[in-house]
């Protein structure tokens, strides 16, 4: 009984901190219709800043808290709103998501440059205080967290329901143009909500530091828990969001208390937020086929068969010449770039043509890699088996997740990625107890690897373009533009989506197999959840609608770690720039390569 009480209190405290974070997320979403994937990253950076002030510079805790939550975080929220999010008002979900990912990756870059990795203990608040309830001890920090959660809940409720500003905020969501006719200023209200939202992210982050430690990625991805809570409230209802957050905190706490502590159950506990995210999504009503407001997208011109053939020939020729010129280290790196290029081709199919934003595409690369590594000696056949396993996993996830669409679907893919991460890729099931596997190479020499990767990239690229020109390509795009019209023309929209998802997963799985045998040693650390986010970012920056975009993106993805090991500070700056570029480029999914094409056609004209 005592234990139950203690775990209940602990669960409520964690849940309270989640509630603070999730409340901020719901506030910004419901007033600006931009779902901020970078919400947790804001909390992370602000928690680091708090450490800097309170621990490193020795400011009193209360002053540091006030400065960070009351001044820095709101200012940062204003900047993000003014320079990134306001320009995205009314943009499709995919675009706002990518902008959020840009903010996220950029902030992680900033944090890594300003605060290089080291242990950073943070003192809890009021650590000399604390009360005994029965036999369980509630620390001062716990009390502060609970009080904050109650204050935030009450404060948000009062602001939204009892003030003119709150009424105007709620009006702006539904019809900003209409609300502005009545004298409110949507831009100012959106700015206000971003300021408050960032402050709440900061407060939640700081409250959680004694529990989760200061870390760039863990804290950033902790918001998946906040997403889950926010989804309980359908991204609208604050009371439900708070209830969801408290429920999550309790479930996690009870899981620690009452689930067995074997390795499987330990990874299972970590997967609970993702599992619950799925449960919440599945409990949502099937999203109706959207009617009205169709807007086409301008893709790059699709090359015909002849142009494709000439392009492929040229590409292979250039690679062959490079293979003769460069040493084996560079050849290996180029091969890696092409393998990443194949991963990005899978996103051209899914995101560029199909319009589905996946935040979990790298997971399929992991599935392919593990399959090939487990099968032992790689052959073209094992590579295909890897692709096949990824395709099956992709189809399964599609069948579950495709009930929902748009933002919810993207979040479901992220939840799926976290689930796979905790239960499979980071557990001994995938890479064994040592966390790594040896894979013999299909061809030994680096030059051979380069040619293998180039050949596969060419084949997959030709395949993707053939799909685009053919029946499936037309159907994918038709489903993206108007699923309602597709259905009334006799197309089974659901199966087309499952098919595309599965095909795209197969391509990613194939790339995973190539990656495994190229690297010779693959480890759990190669397939961390976080890797999914730069992947989407590079895909969009380079151009997610074309094969040449995938090629450029692959090269950039290969260069990033090279930069990071050679010039860490510069790499941090590069990541920040990437984040900014993504936020800016998000409106043009044709990406950097389209500029090249435009320059080319201008020169010829």
């Amino acid at each position: 009984m005592t234990a139950l009480l203690a775990y209940t209190i602990f669960g409520l405290v964690t849940g309270g901190a989640y509630a603070v974070v999730a409340g901020g997320l719901v506030l910004t979403y419901s007033t600006s219709k931009v779902f901020n994937v970078g919400h947790g990253a804001i909390g992370m950076v602000m928690a680091f800043l708090y450490w800097e002030l309170a621990e490193n510079r020795g400011l009193p805790q209360w002053l540091a808290l006030l400065l960070v939550v009351g001044v820095c975080a709101p200012l940062f929220g204003l900047v993000v709103e003014r320079f990134i999010m306001r320009r995205l008002a009314g943009a499709p979900v995919g675009i706002t998501l990518v902008a959020g990912v840009g903010v996220l990756v950029g902030l992680i870059g900033v944090a890594q440059v300003v605060w290089p990795p080291q242990a950073r203990p943070v003192r809890p608040f009021l650590d000399q205080l604390g009360v005994h309830i029965g036999q369980s001890f509630v620390s001062g920090h716990d009390l502060v967290t609970l009080v904050c959660a109650v204050l935030v809940a009450g404060g948000l409720y009062v602001v939204l329901n009892r003030t003119r500003t709150g009424l105007a905020m709620r009006a702006c969501v539904d019809a900003p143009e209409l609300a502005s006719l009545y004298g409110t200023r949507p831009a100012r209200l959106s700015a206000l909500s971003w300021a408050i939202g960032s402050a709440l992210a900061a407060l939640g982050g700081i409250l959680l530091t004694p529990v989760v430690q200061l870390d760039y990625v863990t804290m950033t991805l902790l918001v998946i828990t906040a997403y889950t809570a926010a989804l309980v409230g359908r991204l609208r209802s604050l009371p439900w969001t708070f209830a969801g957050a408290l429920g999550l905190g309790l479930v996690q706490s009870y899981a620690v208390a009452y689930l067995p502590s074997s390795p499987f159950w330990i990874s299972f506990r970590a997967a609970i937020p993702a599992l619950l995210l799925f449960v919440v999504l599945l409990a949502m009503p099937q999203s109706p086929l959207r009617i009205g407001g169709v807007r086409g997208t301008r893709g790059l011109a699709v090359p015909n068969g002849l142009t494709t053939g000439v392009g492929a020939g040229l590409f292979l020729g250039v690679v062959a010449v490079l293979a003769l010129l460069v040493d084996s280290v560079v050849a290996g790196q180029l091969a890696l770039a092409l393998v990443f290029g194949i991963v990005l081709l899978s996103m051209v199919l899914l995101t560029g043509y199909g319009g589905v934003v996946s935040l979990g595409q790298f997971t399929f690369v992991g599935v392919g890699a593990v399959t090939v590594a487990r099968l032992g000696s790689p052959s073209p056949l094992t590579l295909l088996v890897g692709a096949g396993v990824a395709a099956v996993v992709g189809a399964l996830i599609a069948l579950t997740a495709l009930r929902v669409s748009g933002l919810y679907l993207a979040l479901a893919t992220l939840g799926f990625a976290q689930l796979m991460d905790k239960l499979v890729l980071q557990s001994p099931i995938a890479f064994g107890v040592r966390g790594s596997l040896q894979v013999p190479r299909l061809v030994e020499s680096a030059t051979g690897q380069l040619l293998l990767a180039a050949g596969t990239f060419t084949l997959v690229g030709i395949g993707v373009l053939a799909i685009r020109r053919g029946r499936l390509g037309r159907r994918m795009i038709a489903v993206k533009d108007s699923s309602a019209a597709c259905a009334t023309l006799g197309l089974n929209v659901r199966w087309i989506r499952v098919w595309v998802f599965s095909l795209s997963a197969a391509i990613a799985g194939l790339a995973g197999g190539l990656f495994a045998q190229l690297r010779e040693t693959v480890a759990a650390s190669d397939f961390q959840l976080f890797n999914n986010l730069p992947l989407l970012l590079f895909a969009v920056i380079a151009g997610v609608t074309s094969v040449s975009g995938a090629l450029l993106g692959g090269v950039l993805l290969m260069l990033l770690p090279v930069l990071q090991s050679g010039f860490p500070a510069f790499a941090g700056v590069a990541v920040v720039l990437l984040g900014v570029a993504a936020a800016g480029l998000a409106r043009d999914p044709n990406g950097l390569v389209s500029w090249g094409f435009r320059a080319w056609s201008w020169r010829r004209a």
Partner: protein, 230 residues
Amino acid sequence: MSTLRVEGVTVRFGEVTAVDDVTLTVEPGVTGLIGPNGAGKTTLFDVISGLRKPTAGRVVLDDLDITAKGPHQRSRLGVARTFQRLEVFGSLTVWENVVVALESRRRSVKLADELLGRVGIADFAGNQADTVPTGAARLLELARALATDPSLLLLDEPSSGLDRAETDAFGELLRQLSAEGRSVVLVEHDMDLVMGYCDRVHVLNLGRLLVSGTPDAVRAHEGVREAYLG
């Protein structure tokens, strides 16, 4: 040649009843479905084409209850429609739009040019669909619906965006479609078109069926005038 029966269909959105216990029959030929804005015409089309589940009631096509069937299944039974708010595939060309529909029903792609010519937009074949004028986009939706070779064709305000000459040509096309044995339902605000080409007219007002009858009978009906003039 299809007969459609809508039996006691009700659609509620929360507190609002958009369609209130409507029962009507669509016989072969051209049937008009008219009423002031908000009468529930488009909602009824959504129910018939399967995009929206009714709160109550049944939809019966040639004695087959299709209420539980999805939109793509209904399409295969011969139901096709166009949309009041355009639903063209904007990223594809006009020609590709029609091809998607032809392929869906395993019909020859070669028919696309013929269909575009038939509705009078052959000149736009190579244009991206969201760049063509509204009138042409509406005709594209018609060509795309015809590509599925429907026996029941639901047209939601097809003539808005067309000029007088185009509207007359469209009226002739309606006659041909009817002569081919297709049942056509027309939601339309152009009363000349409705009165000139429909064999039968149903009038909806505030979600309820006000009157059904020949164009002349409907024109003479006292309640119809009141409904329109408020």
